[in-house]
């Protein structure tokens, strides 16, 4: 009995090893899933939180930011420092805006909190390695971003009140 089981175990083991080998061999001949990054780039979803930018309105030639400090208060990590002045026309304008990307955790609260369409996430700007830690403290000039005038980009910013149209499509 023992002998029979001994050999049966060996044969069953060999068979299961073959099953495993067949899986890897199958994939060996199947195509790869690799996205060859520097040459090929994955199309990122518009909601991707890659880099925070300050929206610059090139028609009005100014930043949208009115220094309402909402983003600063919302930030869990206090990485936004900004100052503003009240202009002659009574409106507040941002003068300096500093975002420390070395501590920012890309949570998105600042963008959500901003009611003036002044901050946005930009999906594609993820190539942001630097040699000096200091270069991660960016000011408004470094973060300046002009919204391209294309219909695709209009949907870009994360809006908390997106219409609930999706779902139940099955």
């Amino acid at each position: 009995m023992g002998i029979v089981r001994y050999f049966r175990n060996i044969l069953a083991g060999l068979w299961n090893l073959l099953v495993g080998l067949s899986v890897t061999t199958k994939y060996f001949f199947k195509g790869t899933t690799t996205q060859q990054y520097p040459e090929e780039r994955l199309p990122l979803p518009v909601r991707s939180r890659s880099m925070i930018k300050l929206i610059y309105d090139d028609e009005k030639d100014q930043f949208n930011c009115v220094a309402c400090l909402m983003c600063m208060k919302a930030c869990p990590n206090s990485c936004i420092k900004l100052e503003g002045v009240r202009q002659a026309d009574g409106k507040r304008r941002m003068t300096t805006f500093k975002l420390d990307f070395s501590t920012c955790i890309f949570c998105g609260y600042c963008v959500e909190a901003c009611g003036f369409d002044a901050l946005t996430f930009v999906s594609e700007e993820y190539e942001n390695s630097v040699y000096k830690r200091g270069s991660l403290l960016q000011d408004e000039q470094a973060m300046k971003w002009v919204r391209p005038h294309s219909p695709a980009a209009e949907a870009a910013p994360i809006e908390n009140t997106a219409p609930a149209t999706a779902g139940a499509q099955s």
Binding site: L21, T25, T32
Partner: protein, 356 residues
Amino acid sequence: MLTGENIVQLVSGLLHWAYAQAGISSLAGVIDPIISAVVMFGFIAVFVMFLVWMERKVSAHMQSRIGPNRVGPLGLLQTVADAIKLTIKEDVKPVNRDKVPYFIAPIVAFVATFMGMVVIPFDKGVVVQDLNVGILYIIAITGFTVIAILTAGWSSNNKYALLGGFRSAAQIISYEVSLVLSVVPIIMITGTLSLSGIVEYQKQAGYWFILPQIVAFLIFITSATAEANRAPFDIPEAESELIGGFHTEYSGVKFAMFFLGEYIAVVVSSAVAVTLFLGGWLPLPYLDFLHIPGFVWFLAKLLLVIYLIMAFRWTFPRLRVDQLMDFGWKVLIPISIINILATAVVWFCLYGKGAQ
């Protein structure tokens, strides 16, 4: 016709003509081996680099990746870069190491396997020296690897290295027994230890030994994998337990030598497997009209076997050390002994009358 033998004859003819021209014919006995050693080293270095590349590519494709592809065409120069980098990397010498053994361990690891290349027949007549005791020679000379590994583990002054080295030695010696035993049926059938002789026998017999000796082949491949410390038998360097095993403390070019040695061991044992079981340089049956040179067949079969070993590595989990030893002693060795006896009995039944 282009055969390996012709090429060798041509080259040696040319060489001896050159000796005669230079008036150093009397030194031919010294220069010839040196040239063959250099050629073999060149071959093995290139081949191992190719193998490392191949392993990375094979593993990558098995895992739906691409693998190295940015250095040279298809990343072929990747291992060249690795080799150069390892060479020009700083060589850390850990404190409290045992200086001389620490230094010689990688040398032994490399040389032991490199010497095994002497008897590998790539084609009819294309072999450095066809020793009488070919198989035994390979087995004996690769036995030095154990010493190298023990020495490396011992001299590094590191717990992981020590444990890894001793485990590795225990593993190698255990699997050496089944390796040795699995070859015996072949020797019984052919009556020779010479590798070329075994291939010639297969040629005359008209079949490869993998057919009657599939069990021996499986045992041989398994033991060879274990001898080369490759997964699923890579206990000594099981990363998830012992960091790097015996070469934990080795860096730079010394580490590269262990690496090289491991791959040459794979080449040697696969080459022996090809020679013993897959008919060496013989063409596939019914394909000999193609007149493909024998060494091409040999290399093709070699790569096939190596691919198999690589596929093992990237598919199977690792055995635990006690299970590994159990497997070697309690499964492989009994089966290979049974295989020997069975071969003898079958042979007596088939040819017994004629032989006596």
